[in-house]
Symmetry: C2
Subunit: 95 residues, 2 copies
């Protein structure tokens, strides 16, 4: 599924709730899901890890929906087969 | 671009660095990018917001690469045209 199709699915499912909650509250949920992902990774619980990865990308798409950002377009404008810093593939940054 | 194709692009560009940094360090970068997204949203800087959304999904894909998770598969197993909690589209959860 395209990134933009996933974002659109999140819009159909959740836009009414996401928009009501607002940007600040939705970002806070994203932060919470990233923390839950850390916990699942620490516990090395594969099933929980997969679910938390799903939740992080879902909340990121929700946040993109209520801020009017096309996540796929934004991702490919910055990352398009080259590292945006060194312009190489694979990245050869020396920092 | 499919979510899995984006993840594969991140693998080509960054796996050598991501794998060396490890799971904990890569998760810390993800947290940092989510914070930078918050700052860009607060400043209402559209260009910066787009770049930070790109960075968050890029670091999420990097983290998925080094933990052996297929981000697209994980996302669609949990979110597949229905809310995973109420099984409705759109979501009708009452919490």
């Amino acid at each position: 599924m395209h990134i933009s199709e996933f974002q659109e699915m999140m819009r159909r499912l959740y836009f009414h709730r996401d928009n009501e909650r607002g940007v600040k509250g939705t970002h806070e949920w994203l932060v919470e899901e990233v923390e839950e992902l850390r916990e699942a990774l620490e516990e090395e619980d594969k099933e929980a890890i997969e679910k938390e990865f799903a939740d992080v990308i879902a909340w990121l798409a929700s946040l993109a929906n209520i801020t009017g950002i096309n996540l796929e377009k934004a991702a490919l404008e910055k990352y398009n087969n080259k590292c945006p810093k060194c312009r190489c593939s694979p990245c050869q940054c020396t920092f």
